[in-house]
């Protein structure tokens, strides 16, 4: 019977002090980045619920039911689309209106009892293009009296806050990534120093730099996964618990639900893999660069 023989690692990295340091630091970094990114994605979801994401400013025009013939609505949409600064004009469908008012009525209202208004949504890149007095004056000729609801001031403040939070999140993620990379570079350099004799012998026998680098990069990948996966799982458990504690749509129908979609959860779950790949590349580049300076 042929005995299976595991191929040894020529550079004995498993016994290094870094074996415990790297999982700890990467675990902590993945934990933090999962929480930060999760919070940011959840906030984006809430902003989506309030329709305040993106760079567009919005206003809604309510037309009087008496004057809202199909022709009048079509003409009004044409007029609005030609206004300076307006980027989008659309008629809000009945289903969308019903969905919105369900939060107040607690169910689908009877359309015979509750006639729906005609609503037109408009978007602009600047709030200056959405002055209600000007829009009302312009539409008076084609549609008579209309009411213009411009996105309220507090919503603009929320929009600005969401933008700031997303910027801070991105900054934090960059800082976390930098700390992780610097840690890996430091650990790899230390390991290169510890194993200098072994590396010199391997070079003398004919090992290429890439052959040696593979051993370091695989070790970094393994250690980063060993730390990153538990850090990620812990952060996700905390997020799930927190989200369950927040009021749901049943208790607070007017508040958008704080939740994440499948795609967001998958993205968060991929963070340890991304961190491990970053660690692997950082280790490889460090080894190749350092060995390149050797004779």
């Amino acid at each position: 019977m042929v005995r299976w023989r595991q191929r040894p690692r020529e550079v004995p990295l498993a016994s290094d002090p870094s074996s415990s340091f790297v999982p700890t630091i990467i675990g902590a970094m993945v934990f933090l980045s999962t929480l930060v990114l999760g919070a940011s994605l959840a906030m984006e979801g809430v902003a989506d619920g309030w329709q305040i994401t993106g760079q567009q400013y919005r206003a809604t025009i309510e037309m009087s039911l008496d004057s809202a013939s199909e022709e009048t609505v079509a003409t009004s949409i044409e007029v609005l689309a030609q206004l300076p600064g307006i980027t989008r004009v659309r008629l809000v469908g009945d289903d969308e209106i019903l969905e919105t008012i369900e939060a107040w009525t607690g169910g689908r209202p009877d359309l015979d009892l509750l006639p729906l208004p005609v609503l037109i949504d408009i978007e602009a890149l600047s709030p200056d293009a959405l002055r209600s007095d000007i829009i009302e004056q312009i539409l008076e000729e084609t549609a008579g009296a209309v009411t213009v609801y411009v996105e309220p001031q507090w919503l603009l403040a929320v929009r600005s806050t969401v933008g700031t939070v997303q910027l801070v999140t991105a900054l934090m993620l960059v800082i976390i990534a930098l700390i992780s990379v610097v840690s890996i570079v430091y650990v790899t350099r230390t390991a290169l120093s510890i194993h200098q004799d072994t590396i010199e012998i391997m070079h003398q026998i004919g090992a290429q730099d890439s052959y040696i680098a593979i051993q370091f990069q695989n070790q970094s990948l393994l250690l980063a996964l060993m730390g990153g996966v538990p850090g990620n799982v812990l952060a996700i458990i905390i997020m799930v618990i927190l989200m369950r504690e927040l009021p749901g749509s049943a208790e607070a129908p007017l508040l958008p639900a704080v939740s994440l979609g499948i795609r967001e959860w998958l993205f968060l779950g991929a963070l340890p893999v991304i961190a491990a790949l970053v660690a692997m590349v950082a280790a490889r580049v460090t080894v190749i660069t350092s060995l390149g300076r050797m004779p």
Partner: protein
């Protein structure tokens, strides 16, 4: 194959340890390198196995100037050179088997072929029962035999040996020297640094005398 022209070597800013070395080693030649302790034998070997580059002069190997050779070219040269180091330079965390297998693994040899070759060679050097033993548990002579096996397993074009029989009894020393001579007959260029005056008498080859860093070619012993 290997040519030194006016080569000098110094360590850091220290004094020059090799001076004006002029030497040509033809393919398939065999030489002994002799000289008193501190004469520069190990330094000359380190230039030959590309552990160091000359601080002056020209050293060409396999037709290429080593001073201008790329890292990957140097790696290619090293794979054509087998070295038995005076202090063996074995990897202590690897078994005798894995130490000997290393040169073959570095060039991606098939694992089955590696296993067969290594066992064959370990048997030849009398260590087939110690394949799984690690160097720290071996005697000096056993380590030396592992080092010899590792140096020759890749059938190198050049074989450099620094006191290869220093810790061996006479029958085993003769056995290894016969292996070296056999490789030499098949075209391997051989340079053996030794204090052992018996070896050149028993296995005659030209002698290179090193004294205070200067090299003089001598007659066969």
């Amino acid at each position: 194959m290997i040519r030194f022209e006016n080569v000098g070597l110094r360590y850091g800013s220290g004094p020059e340890v090799l001076h004006d070395i002029d030497l040509t080693l033809e393919s398939g030649s065999g030489h002994y390198l002799v000289g008193p302790t501190g004469a520069g034998k190990t330094s000359l070997l380190s230039l030959l196995y590309l552990g160091r580059r000359p601080t002056r002069g020209l050293l060409t190997m396999f037709g290429q100037d080593v001073a201008t050779a790329t890292r990957s070219a140097l790696t290619g040269f090293r794979r054509r050179i087998g070295v038995v180091f005076q202090d063996y330079n074995l990897l202590d965390h690897l078994s005798a088997f894995d130490n000997v297998a290393l040169p073959l693994r570095l060039v991606g040899t098939d694992p089955d072929m590696v296993r067969d070759h290594v066992h064959q060679l370990l048997e030849w050097v009398g260590l087939d029962t110690m394949a799984e033993v690690k160097p720290p548990l071996m005697s000096g002579g056993e380590k030396q035999r592992v080092a010899v096996a590792r140096a020759v397993i890749g059938q190198p074009d050049v074989l450099l040996a620094d006191e290869p029989t220093g810790n061996l009894d006479e029958p085993m020393a003769d056995r290894l020297m016969m292996l070296f001579m056999e490789l030499n007959r098949h075209g391997t260029t051989l340079v053996i640094a030794t204090h052992n005056t018996r070896l050149p008498q028993r296995f005659p080859h030209p002698v290179l005398h090193l004294k205070e860093g200067f090299l003089k070619a001598g007659r066969p012993w």
